[in-house]
Symmetry: C2
Subunit: 486 residues, 2 copies
């Protein structure tokens, strides 16, 4: 445990060995510990928790700005609630963790650990909604959900416990519910894209890939560096599918009793961490967008014993100044070498590094290094705060542009099935027969032959097919995107 | 659902029928809905959630200022962890909810829903702590815990799911651990008392009332208006009781392998809501301290049809101005009468009400009413923001003084057991034989005869007994406080 070596052991190459790189970064940057002794459950360390708390704050602020209010519902749902809507129960039952005992006693009714909260919330909604005056009702909760995933779990991508937000809204009319689905997609754009820098396309999912109980599902898909698609927030038009069995009714302005229309929206903060790690990271490790970085600026003093006091003194003054102006700053005063510290804070993704040596003390300046470009600048002491903020914002902008460019370059078109038979990842845009039930056979066909999934048709762009279905050759009804998936 | 009556139906009297008053306020101020169909589980509505989010922020900031960092551990704990420390397992097993199945399958090992996280965290601590350089380790998590309480549950006081923070710290020496316990009590003072205005005394609990597995337990006790004591944050000196069985070791500066010393601290935000409701409330309902009020200032426009535009226009301008300066403000534009609105927002505990009628429009002013004193003032438009902030702070200060005064007046002394045989609530200060095992028989005696519990000896004041134990008559070893309890 003495003086550490000059450089942390090199990481795997991000593009060539993405899966190993990803796990290594999660562990070595101390985002999470994977050794907890229940399979599929992560221990989240401060480095990810501080980031996620910031991400939650940004997301919650946007939801509240759009009229949502926070609630906290119980983590357990009685079986009777869970079984009210039949499609939903079919979809979720295989994955539900059941609480059956308390102490030594068996419970009279077993309780589901919520895999999602429709069936907890909508029973209360039927008590809360009486009149058109109670609508729209727009509530969200930030919470964990638990699903006994049988597919292989991966940290922050698929697990048995994950952290998300779920918003559940109720409207007097179908049109308002449809407008809400569009608003939810705008929320995804404003936060996930513009703040976190995660590129995506929004899709309407095929009939066979909807949320259990929904009329329609819209989902934002992003990509991992290995070219596989990952689903980010989805928003569901529930129609009256839940309102009917849960008995949600309202007296409208015309005095008629009516059934309202519902939507739900599920941004998974936890999985967005995975995309931030994967999309912005590089061979040196993590790269955090400025606004959500657990530490935004790290100060590394470089000194010999004889000038320690001056250099460390300046470092501490600057940390205080930065903190006083609301910047999350930290000075690394450990006894590692400067080189080791550079590598360590790069691995951890800190956006801005400020180096202070005797030259900087003498000139009344600091050397500022940016994590994304490695560019160094000399900054006068009086300009430090402004420069850190400006470089931080510029870095986020640059990360978004770079990610968008890469994402757009990962979309190609195909006209014939043999063009699907390649190792290349990313999205493949094709003409397809239908995303209704009728298209399922063709979807199964390419899934089996090429491991490609029909992600759906664009929900954020109007695209008309020109030719025939790439699989069955019948006249195409829709343009869809295919991808390997997590 | 048309025009509501002029006043909400009167509440029960707070002091005379505290229990009914409390439940009524919880439901009618829409803090929580008690109708969820699992016993002991609450549905938390926006009015409590917004307050609790603010309370969490204040508490977390104080913990972080003192060097704690946030973590998120799994909600489930495998049985094998749970059974490592024998006192702990004895204390908690009767209350544990067990997850035994996933889908239709029985789990190979059953999982406890965390009733508290020692046994989840300390197993990881044994992996994280290697050297004196890793200490102190100070981590906290904000989370829910689940306990199958068999005593009768009450909203925000005792339930089967509650929201708290748990901080778990590890030190190289016993002295540092003891200093941490004192620091935790200072955190309680700084946040619970100075921010939330909850009065308390800090006690060292008797041997028979310690946390399961602890060497010593210190706890802050407050009172309800019915004179019964409620435990607020407790901090526990765990000594090496957990470190030993969990295998937590560190190599010290002298190269020796040693066993570290631990503490844990558990402020329950959820239960602090109960104290805020109970202590600051009055016969009109809730009274929120300014800083944590979900809405800090409500604007009630008072107008006739012909001057609606002017009055409502001014109300909206002021709401915007207040919000722009960071105040949580809202205008009540519903079609209820002003009188109804006054009552409603008083019931909900909003600290400041601004009334705007034609007179106020004409004079370039507003009428400001304070929830705690009912005092009204006329404020010039240009002074509104400053006045709202000042009155808000003054109100919090006043609430704290009032609560402290009442709390101090609820402490009396007794010299003879017959003085215990009264209905009067509050604390009774008595000379007592011992809070070690030897005192248990005397404690059981007064519990049985007078329903009074020994809360412990003051941890925040030095008090020496002058006489003999109030029960057995032997020479007293300690001054203790007795109280009926929740």
């Amino acid at each position: 445990m003495d003086k550490k070596e000059d450089a942390p052991r090199g990481l795997k190459h991000r593009k060539e060995s993405f899966s190993e790189w990803f796990t290594e970064v999660v562990e070595r940057a101390e985002l999470a510990d994977l050794r907890y002794n229940v399979k599929g459950f992560l221990v989240h360390r401060p480095w990810s928790v501080i980031a996620m708390k910031g991400m939650y704050r940004l997301y919650e602020a946007e939801l509240e700005r759009r009229g949502h209010r926070p609630v906290w519902f119980p983590a357990v749902i009685p079986r009777e609630n869970f079984e009210i809507e039949s499609e939903h129960v079919k979809g979720f039952t295989p994955e539900v963790f059941w609480v059956t005992h308390a102490g030594d006693e068996e419970l009279a009714e077993k309780l589901a650990l919520r895999p999602t909260s429709e069936t907890a919330m909508y029973k209360m909604y039927s008590l809360w909604i009486r009149s058109w005056r109670d609508l729209p009702l727009k509530l969200y909760q930030s919470c964990q959900v638990w699903r006994h995933e049988t597919k292989s779990t991966r940290p922050f991508i698929r697990g048995r416990e994950f952290y998300w937000i779920e918003a559940h809204d109720v409207f007097a009319t179908r049109e308002e519910a449809e407008a809400q689905a569009r608003e939810d997609m705008q929320t995804t754009e404003n936060v996930m894209h513009k703040e976190f820098g995660i590129p995506y396309m929004a899709f309407e999912r095929p009939e066979w890939d909807k949320f259990a109980g929904a009329v329609r599902t819209y989902a934002a898909d992003t990509l991992m560096p290995d070219g596989r698609a990952v689903q980010q927030p989805s928003t569901h038009l529930l129609g009256q599918n839940f309102a009917k069995p849960f008995g949600i009714r309202f007296r409208d302005k015309d005095e008629e009793e009516k059934i309202p229309w519902q939507t739900c929206y599920g941004p998974a903060i936890w999985r967005m961490v995975a995309s931030i790690v994967a999309v912005h990271g590089d061979d040196k490790g993590l790269v955090f967008p400025y606004k959500i970085a657990p530490v935004q600026a790290v100060i590394v003093p470089i000194f010999k014993k004889e000038n320690e006091e001056e250099v460390v003194g300046k470092a501490l003054r600057i940390v205080k100044e930065l903190r006083d102006s609301g910047i999350r700053a930290q000075a690394d005063l450990s006894d590692s070498t400067p080189g080791w510290k550079f590598n360590e804070w790069e691995l951890k993704g800190v956006p801005i590094r400020l180096e202070i040596g005797m030259r900087e003390v003498g000139n009344g300046e600091v050397t500022l290094a940016r994590r994304d470009t490695n560019e160094k600048k000399r900054i006068k002491d009086k300009d430090i705060i402004e420069s850190v903020k400006n470089e931080g914002d510029a870095m986020t902008k640059h990360l978004i542009e770079k990610a968008d460019k890469w994402f757009r370059s990962s979309i190609r078109e195909a006209r014939h099935v043999h063009e699907l038979d390649v190792k290349e990842g990313g999205f493949v845009k094709v003409d397809f027969c239908s995303i209704d039930r009728a298209g399922l056979a063709c979807a199964e066909n390419i899934k089996e032959k090429y491991h490609l999934h029909v992600r759906g048709r664009r929900a954020d762009a109007e695209e008309k097919p020109a030719g025939n279905c790439i699989v069955c050759g019948k006249k195409a009804g829709v343009v869809v995107y295919l991808a390997r998936q997590y």
